[in-house]
Symmetry: D2
Subunit: 344 residues, 4 copies
């Protein structure tokens, strides 16, 4: 932490800051420049300094964090080695590209099994499908619940694809863990600390979607909540952020891929469906994500999108899935051929 004093800050004001830093059990290094004084508090638990609220103190201009707040999620923690998360025996990350495909929501047996077979044949590595759905409106369809989980189990048994499904309520953890190979935490639950901790304790792989207005640091801190419980199987997912642009549902932020991979050893995948909100924009964004170096894509696919009970506009049809998967693979290969890929 660097505490930058205002120009003209007095000796007393500097001394008072030093005293508070030392009072928190840290060491303060005062560095007086021609124009202003900077006080360093390196090598300490930054959280304790952050909690001092020195921004509010007389004579203080700004408080600049130097160390990143996450530890277990950091690339340094793994000494630069990347993590591959094994999801139902199939790895994602560290060179393995994951293609997690399936319907937004489990609707019924035919829809789920038809779609599952099609994505399995077309090259998906994992199957997705929602049994519990977070909905903005209390009047919207909230998912099939336990029945949806059973249909996912059946689709998994038939296709052999590991299953990814969302958990919303901590009280549903047990039945979900029984079926899921990876739990998905939605964007609106990225900072639901109860869920993060409990899923951390459960030890199952977790895919955490970036919150609608979460910074990369906040996403990594959400991962830290899981990692702290001893669960190392975390995958991060960029899914579009909220900006002023209303031409699409969210602004897909692909710079997050290299920026996250510089900071963390965890795999980074992209959900192109929710940002696009329209099926003809899903493939351009999928190829872009793979070309930018993503470790995988989480995409909504439906055997009859026009009759889907939710997110109908953005689910791509199973009919074109195999061709889509092939082009996606080509884009991922292209990314792997770049000199920066190892570094990202």
């Amino acid at each position: 932490m660097m505490i930058v004093m205002k120009q003209g800050a007095t000796e007393e004001q500097v001394a008072s800051v030093v005293e508070r830093i030392e009072g928190a059990g840290c060491t303060a290094h005062v560095s007086k420049g021609e124009l202003l004084t900077v006080i360093g508090a390196i090598g300490v638990e930054e959280d304790r300094i952050a909690d001092l609220g020195l921004e509010g103190q007389e004579g203080v201009d700004q408080v600049v964090p130097i160390l990143k707040p996450f530890k277990l999620a950091s690339l340094q923690f793994k000494k630069g080695e990347r993590t591959a998360v094994e999801v139902g025996g199939v790895p994602i990350g560290a060179g393995s590209f994951g293609l997690i495909a399936g319907p937004c929501t489990v609707e019924n047996r035919d829809q789920m099994l038809d779609t599952a077979r099609a994505v399995a044949d077309g090259g998906a590595t994992h199957l997705r499908g929602g049994a519990y759905k977070p909905r903005t409106s209390p009047y919207s369809f909230q998912g099939l619940g336990q029945e949806g989980l059973s249909l996912l189990a059946e689709a998994k048994a038939e296709t052999g694809l590991p299953v990814v499904t969302e958990l919303m309520d901590v009280r549903d953890l047990e039945p979900v863990v029984e079926v899921a190979d990876m739990i998905q935490l939605g964007a609106r639950n990225m900072q639901n600390y109860t869920l993060l901790s409990e899923v951390g304790k459960a030890g199952i792989p977790v895919l955490i979607k970036r919150g609608l207005s979460a910074t990369l640091d906040e996403l990594l801190m959400a991962a830290e909540y899981v990692l702290k419980e001893g669960n190392e199987n975390v995958i991060l997912c960029e899914r579009g952020i909220r900006t002023y642009e209303s031409g699409y549902r969210f602004t897909l932020d692909l710079l997050a891929i290299p920026a996250l991979k510089e900071q963390t050893h965890l795999p980074v995948v992209v959900d192109p469906s929710h940002a696009a909100g329209r099926r003809d924009w899903v493939e351009p964004m999928s190829l872009a994500a793979a070309a930018a170096g993503a470790d995988g894509v989480l995409v909504e696919v439906h055997n009859d999108p026009d009759s889907a009970v939710c997110d109908a506009a953005q689910q791509i049809p199973t009919s074109g899935f195999a061709d889509y998967a092939e082009r996606l693979k080509a884009a991922a290969d292209l990314a792997r051929s770049t000199p920066t890929h190892a570094g990202v």
Copy 2:
């Protein structure tokens, strides 16, 4: 819902949209203009049309919602009459200005009781204090929990002020309800549907903070989750939104006050502390909120801010609280004297 067709959309494309609307049990009114065709689907459950995903259909340019998605929260539902929420016997809204004051976190007996006495003497209408704290970092102080609740109960007994405190984990609902006169749901939990529903069922007054990037409609839909369970005691709270500006922690959005009050009968209060992030900016923003027509202010006050365990920079000291409260009252009176006040 209005479905606007693209220029040059074919008869077949129009017919296909009409068919899907009618298939959802609604009526479609086709209106052909010189340049383009608009299909209306008024007077139906818009959710069902929204779920059709018509944006993705051939020939469709845009889908424009006409009816608001919230019902029980709307001003029309109460025929224009404003709601006063009784919190521990003291009303907020419909002309009653609430001043909810107290520390960010319950730290210890002295801090809690000293602060409570000071805000009670200074003119606060309700007491706030956190026993469970949502923290970005798993390594930060997470609140005193049950012990904090006991200290809140003691402060309430001594001062007579009704208590407002945060609930984070649905499994803590029972002990929190025992002490709290109003439950606070934090910005990061605004779309935690589990919490919203359970608090709705509990029947206790709820203060819902606007999410960091929530639209006003989404805030009202969060309220709808509570109202739908038969709990009418909901207060909305603007607390700053996330924007590109990094000069402060959040951008306090005071236009939300008149804009929300045009749509809803529920009271609207403002938390100036978290957006400002600095104690000298709390009063200007408090006065601004009151002058803009807010029904109350939720403000962090501490008997010794410099030693606070969290949010130290933004808590105002108890020493100046009575004067602050007096000026705040003057600003609220000024708002009440405007011709638009009845309307807002």
Copy 3:
């Protein structure tokens, strides 16, 4: 400037950064902590270090600016003394509250003179009106131009109010300066460096509107372009920023008032009309701005808003102007009575 090295940065990488700093004629202070190394370059022209692009260098984690990039606009430059800008002999700032009122656009003689008389009688300190209008669409009305300037001159002669009007094209500088007591630079021209420099050279007072997504630092740097030419008569204007919220045209950012006043000696006024976009929301935002400590308000007023050629929805009628002005004065007085006011 602080250059924070990555954990594990090598001696060579540190030396290379030091070399580049010294190559730019500056001094580097290396400070090695337990976990990482920080290199300070205090007391130099930060622009030259910023241009080095050290963020891109091997081993560098981040580059943190310490000194603010503006000099003449800073509060320190005036040793903490606030500037009052004399506009046509009437001061704004340093305790003098400006109420700049008038129509969005000069439309015709009757409209301009009627409105001017009404705002003069109602308590305005200055008259506003646009002769040149920046319009998003090339097909929209672009203003009366020279004829509009003549009508402004006539209104000024009759009412005695100093005139504020917008300049868009540097080639119109001469005729505009002939009539205007203060030139307004619109939000979309905040970083039009040609206009800023030329208006700086002209020596006339300038009101600079904050760009739609300009940071406070960028606004102050725009002012610096004018100040650098020897023109000290600059007023800053908050007018709403662009955010994700679509419930209003812009999000009025009132925290900008205390935050700017902490940094600069220049007066800060607020335009509530463009953010609100609706006349019934203009008064709540005006009172909020004044209560938050603004040095003035720039408000659109029209003698017959419903027939206005542009911005009809947001212009307030002359009929209620005097009452509005009185309440605004009360809000400004309230702000002046706060202990933080002197500091803000």
Copy 4:
């Protein structure tokens, strides 16, 4: 335009809206639903209705634009045919991928010629380089001006590459046109209507960068200012938008590619350099842009980036340029192989 009345709007309020629409020379179609009334004004100049400010009228809930405000820029105007802009004889758009490469700023003869030769050899289609530089600070290097233009002319003569350079001040139009094959208008000048009109009149190809917080509609309206003067040679450029995320300089918004191409016949290129702000993130974003269907890339390349006078961190070195260009071509080919490409 659709005017949606509030629930409970009176007959008089509806009649008053109809009257104002008809007073503006348009036709109003009233459509009464079960819950509310919608008034359509299709087939008219929407600008005139927009200027009425009906949002401010009693009983009006919202005003929804139906027709897009741009005409000449629309895909319909060209009946779905895409435009290739010839820049110095080399087309960009409609299947031709442009690779516009060169230094941020022209610094000196060696730097300019070395870089130009390298990008010409490496596969660039056009040469970029700034002689006039818009800088946030008046104290920063502002470009070589006329001398820079001469060096660009020399580089063009030697390599045969057409030249793209920025125009900032309308008074420099003549000398710039003499050298440039395409004029670049910067993000901060996207709504500088003086520049747009004059460049439109000059007839030279124009590349318009999207403003930092410009919507796609606003970008298309900026193009419309140029097109309206009879100049059809406009290229649009996505370069990153301003969001809350501070992990990079701007958030590159690649969804803008398919979204713009759905609306307009004009080519869409991407500048990956300014958003990334770091050279190792430039290639991932370049490949992503090409894979998403961009018509070209505008990239900063320098023969010795570490010694660049500005934007040093983000310029990629000439040494790796040929390999970069080859992978970029592969990504563009991949995009062309998708079924949506023709449509986008």
